[in-house]
Symmetry: C2
Subunit: 150 residues, 2 copies
Amino acid sequence: MPPPKPPSATPDLPAEPTQARRFGKARTAQASALLEDYAELIADLLASGGEARPTDIARRLGVSHATAIKTISRLKREGLATAKPYRGVFLTPEGEALADRVRARHRLVVDLLLRVGVPAEAAEQDAEGIEHHVSDVTLGAFSRFLKDHP
Amino acid sequence: MPPPKPPSATPDLPAEPTQARRFGKARTAQASALLEDYAELIADLLASGGEARPTDIARRLGVSHATAIKTISRLKREGLATAKPYRGVFLTPEGEALADRVRARHRLVVDLLLRVGVPAEAAEQDAEGIEHHVSDVTLGAFSRFLKDHP
DNA sequence: GCCAAAGTGTAGCCTCGTCTACAATTGTCA
DNA sequence: TGACAATTGTAGACGAGGCTACACTTTGGC
């Protein structure tokens, strides 16, 4: 490859740092996505059934119980959950706060999708993946849009 | 934990299989996200600069060149790209098709976000993460919404 | 009271995506 | 022409997230 192309081989695309930052953020967002899903699900189970058991969590998420247990360990490591052996999982205050935020965001994303005409089934499905990448700014815009276009 | 709760410990949440399917899909979507980003970027570089070099790709994506090269290998393994040592990267027809699809989807997602009032900067940023989780059904809805609400 | 089934936990393995460090190639310019 | 700087490629490590297989608790029902 020719070295003398002075600064970059691609003059017209957006400045690299911007694009790199964007991709990087999308990558890190994905990293916390799993924990968010777990927190939300645990909160749901606790609220409705009273118990959050690894096997139930695994079944809901479509993974093996071993995987669920491993991720629950990570949740504990990050201070989001507590669990004593053979005793079910609970959320710490931070875990609950996270779950609340996630739940609100999920609802908002689904509502927005429905509002722009996405069928319910697809809205739920896609929201599961989309929600983890919606920034607060965008969330605010969604909420405003829904208020103005009921 | 009590064994005799007949079918499940959580009676009121949506049926497990549905939810598991949703999460599973979100997980696999994320798996192809990287390849999609690479394909799109390579197409951009090829179109504008004429060359797609591993180092440029790495810089744009904000990763080390080693990471880029490894991912390019995967692209080749999956039949999306071709590359000879020290000679730059090119897309196969399938790779180009993928890039086209990804680019169109990206544009549609950004447009939709802008249309509902998301600031340009946030729209671009969030779209980078969101686009990989937007199904064809949802994409169709977006396109219809934009046509009906110009 | 015991016991078998269900749930829980552990170990070991795999792939992906990322990195750093080191080796090899290229191509210009002195 | 040959050396040097940049690019490219390779090796090895690591953590996340997944799985299967195997071991250990718990607990209701007999």
